[in-house]
Amino acid sequence: MSSKVIQAMYNDDDVLMSAVKETKSAHHHIEEVYTPFPVHGLDKAMGLAPTRIAITAFMYGLCGLSFAIWMTNYMMIQDWPQDIGGKPSFAWIYNMPAFVPIMFEMTVFFAAHLMVITFYMRSRLWPFKEAENPDPRTTDDMFVMEVAVEGNEKELTSFLKKTGAVEIKVTEKH
């Protein structure tokens, strides 16, 4: 199936916002919106589901905490218990206060790095990745809304013109 899209370009975030709302209420399918900076409320207006990345960070943090507990217990209590400065390593729970900094740092380390890696993977960001923004101006001062063409192309074009677009471009999306 050839998927034809219309890219409507706007020069203002407020115009874009109202255009997104109008397009949405006219039941056209918004494929994507490209903006040079975070436009607040855009995700809600487009109907994007909230991101769950904070939840993953919490779970990664728990992994880090568990790892730190396992590591300190294995290394200091089980594998080679030592009497350091008159403070023998009999049980993990007795030595626990000394391990709090390690537990905290590992929690933060795991949560932060794994969350960022998840973000990069999900948003397809890595070195040598080709950028996919339709126009170089979308990182400067232009906002592009990409609407799927279903049915009458002419009608959709004239509808988008009325929403205040600066430029309209019809392209085949591969």
């Binding site: 994007l48 740092e105 932060a112 960022v116 960001l125 950028a131 990182t139």
Partner: protein
């Protein structure tokens, strides 16, 4: 429509009549332009200092740390002083980017990028000192809990020195990803503006293919918020743990429970001073006074004043507790610190850190740029001496009077310290020329609420500075079926053709936005002189766009005609 209201009593954070495109151009300008002579001079001096430092480090490693001024009583001196000083400086960056983000302070956006860069570069300097202090840095990996050749002898997790390893490495790596994630959209901006293929390639690589989809931005904001939430306790933990290197010992003068909060406050204090030192120069050199305003400097001065007062409180509390404890060793440590042979260092610390920031109660002084710069240097000196006083004055007179001694640094001590300052400035100067030094994407997002022109429009009325909604929409055909010859001739008819026998071609590369490749393209069309370019109007720009595959709209955006008019003279 989104509300961009902000109370009129809040001063604008972006000065001047800026549009989104102006922000792009002004942030990209230092990267796209050429370095001036002063930059090369300062870079040369920093590089020389850095190389001298490397020499001293190599000498230390080759000969042993006996080349330092350390002796049997004073086992820690400049090395650890420098370590704590550099780590402390780093704290301001995280404070600005993370804590101010959690508190929704918008003034963070003009300065967070450089403050975080400063964090990373100064933590790199800090990390050097414990490593070279090991004496055998090639065995530095012994601090890591990895299986080893000694059966299973693991690192000691009860030791604050090992906590330090975990804290500093977590701090450095998390700060780095926080910084880099924020940089992606700004690198993408530079990538999409780059003309020369090499720059385009580099910034494509650095921007990780950032595209700016709505979903990406949604995740980006969530990730920034969570990272800020993680970095806030992290930054507090780092200096807390650094202070525990001292506080968990039984040495009078070090064995103090007030150390963690006192060190954290001191770190923020010295860090903000360093941010002020760097940004007061950078805003001038890189023409960013519209984004790093007098108000930013004033607010940082207020933070310096408050944290300076906290530090002052801690100094007095230490003295009081030493007296109140009734422990004579403790009492002597503090009496000796203030009145012993190191009285001058103590006095310097007290004046620089406690007295000097108090002048910022005066509005006139804290809004004076020159004065802020001087105080920021004074605070940096004072905070170095604070660490020197704590470390050396507590050690130089121990329990045994026969081993009482003084510390004198050797040229190696001084060389390594100067070397790290050089290294820091080498990194920062390179950063200032190649990185977007303002978080431009974030600054654009507050333009409508905190921009000078938008505030004036809302508060006093007048013309709406927002870009006007077009009456006519331009339609771009995908399959460009352009009659190239017809367009070329119509373009040249309005610009005038170039006669190689009577005219000389100009160097079109002088027009900003035109590189060697674009110049060649223009030449093949038949454009060789500034005179031709200066005649361009909207009609010619459109024709030019139709003749070129890439660089669409660039000629108009960069105002080639206006530039050519100036160059013609």
């Amino acid at each position: 429509m989104a509300s961009h209201y902000e109370a009129p009593i809040r001063e604008p954070l972006i000065i001047g009549d800026k549009s989104y495109h102006d922000i792009t151009v002004e942030v990209a300008a230092p990267v796209e332009g050429k370095a001036n002579k002063q930059w090369w001079i300062v870079f040369g001096i920093s590089l020389a200092a850095f190389l001298w430092g490397i020499g001293c480090i190599l000498y230390t490693i080759g000969t042993g740390i006996g080349v330092w001024g350390l002796n049997k009583s004073i086992g820690w001196a400049w090395d650890i002083t420098n370590f704590v000083w550099w780590v402390g400086i780093g704290h301001a960056g995280t404070l600005i980017s993370a804590v101010l983000l959690l508190f929704r302070q918008k003034w963070r956006m003009g300065i967070n990028r450089s403050a975080e860069a400063m964090t990373i570069f100064s933590v790199v300097q800090a990390g050097l000192f414990p490593i070279i202090h090991m004496g055998r840095p090639w065995q530095g990996y012994w601090v890591l809990p990895i299986p080893n050749q000694f059966g299973s002898l693991w690192a000691n997790f009860n030791s604050p020195l090992l906590w330090d390893v975990f804290a500093i490495s977590t701090y450095l790596s998390v700060s780095l990803v926080f910084w880099w994630t924020g940089l992606l959209p700004d690198f993408a901006m530079l990538r999409d503006r780059a003309v020369r293929p090499f720059q385009k390639k580099i910034y494509s690589l650095l921007s990780f293919g950032w595209t700016g989809r709505a979903k990406d931005w949604q995740r980006f904001e969530e990730v920034s918020l969570v990272l800020a939430g993680l970095a806030t306790p992290l930054v507090l933990s780092v200096h807390t743990i650094v202070s525990m290197d001292f506080a968990t010992s039984v040495i009078p003068g070090w064995h103090t429970t007030i150390f963690p909060p006192y060190f954290v406050a001191g770190a923020i204090f010295s860090g903000f001073a360093m941010v002020n030192t760097l940004l007061i120069i950078m805003r001038k050199v890189s023409n960013l006074e519209a984004y790093i305003t007098r108000q930013h400097i004033e607010l940082m001065n207020i933070v310096i004043m408050i944290t300076g007062s906290i530090v002052g409180c801690a100094y007095i509390t230490e003295l009081f507790i030493a007296w109140y404890s009734g422990v004579e060793y403790e009492q002597y440590a503090f009496l000796n610190r203030a009145t012993g042979p190191y009285w001058w260092a103590y006095l310097l610390m007290m004046t620089c850190n406690v007295v000097s920031p108090q002048v910022f109660w005066s509005k006139k002084l804290r809004t004076s740029i020159a004065f802020s710069f001087i105080i920021s240097i004074v605070v940096n000196i004072g905070m170095w001496f604070e660490r020197f006083v704590i470390i050396v004055s507590s050690l130089h007179r121990d329990y045994l009077p026969s081993s009482w001694t003084m510390f004198s640094p050797t040229f190696v001590d001084i060389g390594i310290y100067v070397g790290t300052i050089g290294f820091f400035f080498v990194l920062f100067l390179l950063y200032a020329r190649t990185f977007p030094v303002i978080a431009q994407a974030e600054v654009k997002s507050i333009l409508k609420s905190s921009g000078d022109n938008y505030k004036r429009y809302r508060d006093a009325g007048g013309a709406n500075p927002a870009p006007s909604t077009p009456t006519k929409t331009k339609e771009v055909e995908t399959v460009a079926d352009v009659d190239v010859d017809a367009n070329t001739s119509s373009l040249l008819s309005s610009l005038g053709s170039f006669d190689a026998t009577s005219q000389t071609a100009d160097d079109l590369k002088l027009i900003s936005g035109v590189g060697p490749k674009l110049e060649k393209t223009l030449n093949t069309i038949g454009i060789y002189t500034f005179d031709q370019v200066s005649k361009m109007t909207n009609k010619e720009y459109d024709l030019l766009d139709s003749l070129m595959d890439s660089f669409q709209g660039r000629a108009k955006r960069d105002d080639w005609a206006g530039q050519a008019k100036k160059l013609k003279k």
